[in-house]
Amino acid sequence: MTIGEYKRNKYCKDLYQDHYTNVFVFVQRRIEDENKTSAIVKEVFIQAFDDLLTNEIRDVSKLTHLYKISTEMCDKSVEQINTRYVHLSDEMTSDMLDQMGSISNRQSAIQKLKRLVNALSLREIQLLELRFSERTTFYDGGYILKISEQMAKLKTYRLLGKMHHMINS
């Protein structure tokens, strides 16, 4: 193995070991099946090695770039299996309701929120997941979904406002 090959190998190994579990959990939230998740994560890292060895990612962290590739791969997989899983944890719903502002009956609001999320488009769900589940910044969320930071912010708050209005009505 030459010095160049050794460096490439070490760089990729470090990247893989540092971020594997995060990427695995990220994909599994959307795909559910462990074996499919494992196959997708493998593809994600092959793509990431290619990207990161040829281009330097400057604007975002490596993990954000990995999330971006994972999102693309998950979207492709979802098209094939026709089912997209959305993990709505208690923490996530609670954070969303906190962001919405004044809610009179919290228990009833949680039930309404779940029904509303079920009726959202996949793009809207992705915005909410990145913000309240992965807790990415709007900048990173925009990078992952290939939109601007302002657009990510605008769409998320508009969506929360709309949901708040529907929950209170």
């Binding site: 190998n9 990729c12 190994k13 893989y16 070991q17 594997y20 579990t21 695995f24 959990v25 599994q28 939230r29 559910e32 462990e34 998740t37 494992s38 994560v41 493998k42 890292f45 092959i46 090695f49 290619d50 040829t54 979207d75 979802v78 098209e79 026709n82 089912t83 997209r84 899983y85 959305v86 993990h87 709505l88 944890s89 779940k114 999320v117 079920n118 959202l120 996949l122 793009r123 769900i125």
Partner: protein
């Protein structure tokens, strides 16, 4: 994205723990596959794209377009000095006619007289 994708909400997270996720972790397998993918023969088009940075191609194309744009404007512009010559006196065709046309002394009486005077 297809519109008929079914969204399935899950209240309880059946997510693998980090320890379980680690069972699937195998760097050597991914690295081998990565090298296999990279060692496959590529088309000439792919080779050119990889060899030359896409940004360089974009810059070169932009420069060519700018040169073409200004080039077309300059070619369409009429040369100065000939444009306001309504009588066509300075036009190349008019000058050529003047040079090639034979001077006939019969048509110019005063010249005829001068010639006669010289003979005398």
């Amino acid at each position: 994205m297809k519109k008929d994708v079914k969204i399935q909400l899950l209240d309880r997270c059946n997510l693998s723990s980090h320890e379980r996720a680690l069972r699937y972790m195998d760097f050597n397998e991914v690295w081998t596959e990565f090298n296999n993918v990279n060692s496959q023969p590529k088309s000439i088009y792919q080779g050119i794209l990889e060899a030359v940075d896409a940004q360089v191609i974009r810059r070169a194309l932009r420069t060519v377009l700018v040169i073409l744009f200004f080039g077309v404007i300059l070619i369409n512009e009429e040369p100065k000095g000939l444009e306001d010559n309504a009588l066509g006196i300075n036009s190349p065709s008019a000058t050529a006619n003047h040079v090639s046309a034979p001077i006939e002394t019969e048509q110019i009486p005063q010249f005829k007289n001068v010639v006669l005077d010289l003979h005398e």
